[in-house]
Symmetry: C2
Subunit: 513 residues, 2 copies
């Protein structure tokens, strides 16, 4: 057994079932091992940013890591932006990055670069295997790190000779770092703060799943305090039968309004709220100077356990929490505008849909209009590195083949990783992509004045516009084997959505805004 | 004057005329400054890998740096693969990477990452501006580093508040590090080695321009020794009236055959030859253990001066060197195969064409068949990170608007940065893209057995194939505003090439192989 086979066997033994891959020469033995060792589904991506974004989407839905297979430093570099997003979502991922044979590095041949240095900013754990005999154990450590309660990105660099040399040993995955119990004194302190009033539970990450949300809502109901989430989250379980959670609006002024009167902000798998960007003259920290920030549970803690203990101490009962009713909007008629589009999504979202939302400016009304739809998951861009939506949809569809994935996609962001459509076609993934074709980096029109740059002149305007030439998404999709349609009226959009959610396999709707 | 304006004015004063950009919020003041300060052409790219690859192509043709404008760590990360290629080509580039305001970094807001760490592996020089007053001076240093004789990548990180704060000062660019004269004793040692026989001049980098090639050929002619280049080069001036140089074949065995009998290998702006990848049981170093390797001139040296001194010492005269005759192949008839395609390129390549060659496996015959075409430049992938061809064509066309750029493009590599086609359409760039649609990572079929992995099984084969679904490049181009045609016969290809070289603006030919 060579090192590559021991790696694949260790991945299988460690519960890694999927590998999103763009291999090169240095990864050929790993690819060969996939033929010999059953148990891994290998999904080819035509760009590494698709592979890493897909691994993020997969793990958000499967709650376990996928592997990626990347080709040396440049292949890893191409995947870093979506690893950045995954890191911010606390998504577990095991990256396998091929490198030159250890004895070949001395020659500094053309594809040589400092892979560890490139990996570190977006990884919690980086290791280069030194020897075929160590590859299995190294892979096991990587899986263990990724599977820790917090959710980590582990990057294992595999020199080609450690892959092809005999002597590989399959390793048992060490127990991942378990969620830490939250001490009683923290529970007590948080309980007292809630009872004192002027408090808010700010709930994020894994606390946005149904069980945790019920508990948080029960605590809020019992104490009369607010329960909120921020506006960008890795995955929210929502819709009819679930507990609806409000989100803090994104603009700095509006978020400050929400936080301003608080005496205590209580974090549940969430960071203290800060402005996404600095804007001249506006604060970076969104809470007031006098606000006391407590952490009930961090990502590495037993979040549900902490909420249960807090609910018990307060006498808060999940059974008292009202569930979201099934209340869909009517299918709208009239103009094709964002408000009506939001209603159409609310009216037509299928049960158990997985919404991969990279709508950016276009999507601001969609969250509210879909809250009474049948139960579904809502996945968002967490790290701000655009180009996640289409790859994330690939990963979510691989994780949940029986569910409909709906990718709400801004056009400018979509262009970053449009190669994902090819993988959707190849794997016949059940993804409906809806492109908001405003033909502009519209968010930057607002940001231009937010940062005090005034009004854009001719050159600046042209840097924010995608209309010359207009992108033709139906042709782009066709070029990668995905059927699509362009809609210019509300009636056309409605029937395209109706058809799209029925269709098996990928479909794309370009909405001319 | 704010920091951003001082930056733009310093760039203009330093001779930087073009900026390949994908800006975000943190770069809005730079964008605003472009409206206020004339002298920079700002070219929007819909992905950062396009921007960095375009900057590479631009500088290879303009012999001076362009700037890039990139958005924080993820934006830089998206551009790293083509910066890797540029570094291997010794291309000068000034990267401007926006960052959060200095005082905002403490909050670790979602887009925060370690930009300096990401920049270092692909940059010779990295600096973060600390203050609006320093931005001009920092930019001047960056330009100076980039313009050094060697050709360097300088990355300047610009926190948003250093861009928007008043107090900017335009700086004068310090003199770049000049080319170092080569000592007489080196000239003498090389001359003696050539006279002793069994020697080869291995010529690369800047030494592949007309004047240096003439000198190298004269030296070879006078001493009866070989003059060769490797198979991947940043830019060769070639064709009728130029000096033709042979290239070392790429496979390890064949290159070893060429180097094996040498007593002395003399490097002229080239590295000692090594295998691109390690292959089991094959050497990494391509010269024999007894071969003496001398460096006549490194990239930072006065290369032409060294060749002139060597020629003079040897009594070698440029006027004795035979020039390449104009000898085009006839337009081929018959089957659409790589040999005939090579002939068609040789028959139809227009005068002063700039060939951006990322043909990978398909292009192996094209170099020989075009050597008697009218004078032209041939630009290649130097660093092995695929996805350079289309962006490089953008940059070359911006640098040389009156010349025809011909991008010979493998399909798998083309998919990495296909967004470049949109910029070609937007800027009406004179680029003819020819896609070799073999629908496979064909090079990996060979590498699979080269690394001893045997024959690919079903899963491995599927990782190397792009045929399910087939990419439709005519639709992909149409989606980005570029007209295209698919050809399936030699006659169709010939007439498409004839039309394509006549057309002004971008055009794409998909060649079904």
């Amino acid at each position: 057994m060579n090192g590559a086979e021991s790696l694949v066997k260790t991945l299988v033994a460690g519960g890694v079932e999927v590998c999103f891959a763009n291999p090169g020469t240095s990864e050929m033995h790993f690819v060969a091992a996939l033929d010999k060792v059953p148990g891994i589904r290998c999904v080819l991506c035509l760009f590494e940013g698709v592979a890493t974004g897909a691994a993020d989407g997969y793990a958000r839905m499967a709650d376990k890591p996928a592997a990626t297979l990347l080709h040396l430093g440049p292949g890893l570099a191409n995947g870093l932006a979506n690893l950045h997003n995954a890191r911010r979502a606390r998504t577990p991922i095991v990256n396998i990055v091929g490198d030159h044979a250890t004895y070949h590095l001395q020659y500094d041949s053309p594809l040589t670069s400092d892979i560890e240095a490139l990996a570190r900013p977006m990884s919690s754990w980086v290791r280069t295997s030194k020897d075929a005999r160590m590859v299995g154990a190294d892979a096991a450590d990587a899986i263990s790190v990724a599977k820790s309660a917090k959710g980590e990105i582990a990057t294992l660099i595999l020199p080609a000779n450690t892959a092809w040399t005999e002597g590989g040993v399959v390793a048992v995955v060490p127990p991942p770092m378990a969620a830490k119990p939250v001490p009683d004194e923290v529970i007590r302190e948080v309980a007292e703060a809630l009872q004192a009033g002027s408090a808010m539970l700010l709930v994020g990450g894994k606390a946005l799943r149904h069980r945790a949300l019920q508990l948080a809502a029960a605590i809020g109901l019992k104490t009369g305090q607010q329960v909120m989430a921020i506006s960008r989250n890795p995955r929210i379980e929502r819709g009819a039968g679930r507990v609806t959670i409000d989100r803090i609006p994104n603009p700095v002024e509006k978020s400050i309004d929400r936080f301003n009167a608080l005496r205590t902000l209580i974090l549940v798998d969430e960071d203290a709220p800060v402005a996404f960007f600095a804007h001249p003259g506006k604060p970076g920290k969104l809470t007031s100077a006098t606000c006391n920030i407590l952490t009930l549970a961090a990502a590495s803690d037993d979040i549900v356990g902490a909420l249960e203990a807090l609910a018990e101490r307060l006498g808060a009962r999940v059974s008292d929490v009202p569930r979201q009713a099934l209340t869909r909007p009517d299918i709208p008629t009239g103009a094709l505008n964002l408000e009506n589009i939001g209603r159409a999504l609310g009216a037509l979202l299928p049960e158990h849909a997985i919404v991969c939302d990279e709508s950016i400016t276009s999507g601001r009304t969609f969250f509210a209009s879909t809250q009474g739809a049948p139960p579904h998951d809502w996945l968002q861009l967490t790290g701000g590195a655009i180009g996640l939506g289409m790859p994330m949809a690939v990963g979510a569809a691989v994780a949940c083949p029986t569910r409909k994935v709906i990718n709400l996609q801004a056009d400018g962001s979509g262009m970053y990783t449009l190669q994902a459509l090819w993988t959707q076609a190849r794997e016949k993934l059940n993804v409906l992509t809806v492109i908001w074709a405003n033909r502009s980096y519209k968010i930057l029109h607002n940001e231009f004045s937010n940062v005090g740059a005034g009004q854009p002149g001719d050159k600046a305007s042209s840097m924010l516009s995608l209309d010359n030439p207009a992108l033709d998404w139906v042709s782009l999709a066709k070029g990668m084997g995905v059927e699509g349609v362009r809609v210019t009226t509300m009636a056309e959009l409605t029937s395209a959505l109706q058809a799209g959610v029925q269709q098996t396999g990928p479909f794309l709707i370009e909405v001319s805004l």
